[in-house]
Subunit: 248 residues, 2 copies
């Protein structure tokens, strides 16, 4: 990040009415999110909501025995902390930084008040929440029916969509935690992809060489979630943004 991040780089913030943006701007706090930082733990009352700029945050469920599984992933298309306006104030999951970067944050209470004052803003947030819901549902299905190979492809694509460039900084161990599988399983799957010339990696750095191939090898889950997310967030009838094709 050589240039200063601005709030409008987060799609949700950018989509707010100008008037609301003005009022929120002064309260937004730019926060660096280093890899592995925990934004909140399972059951924590949410003090802030976070709007990622170039960071990626995973919602992770950690079981009693320590095993984990990623529930959903959030980049600059969304926000962390939907429980603030959904009313629960907490969720039984952990929010952890999966790719370092920056985010703007806002006090939960302030955000909640603002959301409740502006129905347009509320409805935007609710559409985002529905996109999140879709992602969770699809994760459930994917966990049930698809191979590690397919899931790795899906996961790489989800991350890629939320990054600029085609390189991820991410060890296989961490990917395994996210997918809820063995590290060796990821090694094997990644090895296959490398042999096929789809990716190239070494010691925590993954280059995606052939995104197209990746999409072919992925299960349907990626496309379903992407399509639905685009429908919910980026198709705004009779506005200039209409038809914007992708997450980023």
């Amino acid at each position: 990040m050589s240039v200063m991040p601005i709030p409008q780089q987060n799609h949700l913030l950018a989509a707010l009415p100008a008037e609301v943006q003005q009022r929120l701007l002064v309260n937004l706090e730019l926060i660096p999110l280093p890899l592995g930082m925990v934004l909140y733990e399972s059951g924590d009352a949410l003090r802030h909501v976070y709007f990622p700029i170039d960071a990626i945050v995973s919602l992770l469920y950690v079981m009693e025995n320590g095993a984990s599984a990623e529930i959903s992933v959030v980049g600059n298309e969304g926000l962390i902390g939907v429980a603030v306006f959904m009313g629960g104030e907490s969720t039984p999951s952990r929010a952890i930084v999966q790719s370092a970067g920056y985010a703007f944050r806002l006090l939960g209470k302030q955000f909640k008040d603002e959301v409740n004052r502006h129905s347009e803003m509320l409805h935007l947030m609710l559409r985002y929440t529905q996109a999140l819901l879709t992602q969770m549902a699809q994760t459930a299905v994917c966990n049930r029916h698809h191979s590690i190979d397919q899931q790795l492809c899906r996961w790489l694509l989800l991350s890629l969509d939320r990054l600029s460039g085609n390189q991820l900084v991410m060890t296989q161990e961490l990917i395994a935690n996210m997918l809820g599988v063995r590290r060796e399983g990821v090694t094997e799957a990644a090895g296959k992809l490398q042999k096929l010339g789809v990716i190239e990696y070494s010691r925590g750095h993954i280059h995606v060489l052939d995104r197209c191939k990746l999409e072919q090898l992925s299960c349907e889950c990626y496309a379903v979630v992407k399509k639905e997310t685009d429908r919910l967030l980026f198709y705004v009838p009779a506005e200039p943004r209409q038809g914007q094709p992708a997450l980023r």
Copy 2:
């Protein structure tokens, strides 16, 4: 159903302010939900929202190859059709009746207008939606990490909580569809439970004999979802309902 169902048997309808109840009552339509009825298909625009009384409805994702997986389950604690007020108007899943019974339904537009007029009502619906979110997340985790035996226990408990009595009408084949596993897998798991004296079944009728044991044999997922659902929906500070222990 020898007695006439009344709207207040649905927890969400019962929790609405008296004034709103009055206005909705005349528009509520009592509908019988036979086993297997599809309330909506993946991608359908939602014409109605449904409030189950004694029926159970599953949200099911059906993949391209026909395989399926249950995303969440809804009984008289909730409603079918959250996409109406979340703004998406549709979801990529099927709503199918898993246990026959009755539900009240309401035109989606009417419900939406009502929700948008009453913030108290909206907030109740959002809390329910968060409970749904939790259930989906937990389903994802459960699909990843737990055995068919454990998942069957969880599934039986979820159904039991939404029924009166301790008998389910449900073939192993259908349970397998819900869990997204083989029918034989369910046969085996159910056989174990029967040997342990936890359940008793024959040709689509399952009697639960020892609910306690069922909870012990289930994975943590059931308890997590139940606790969170109770927290979100039934704990209303400084009101008579406070401390109500269970879903039903």
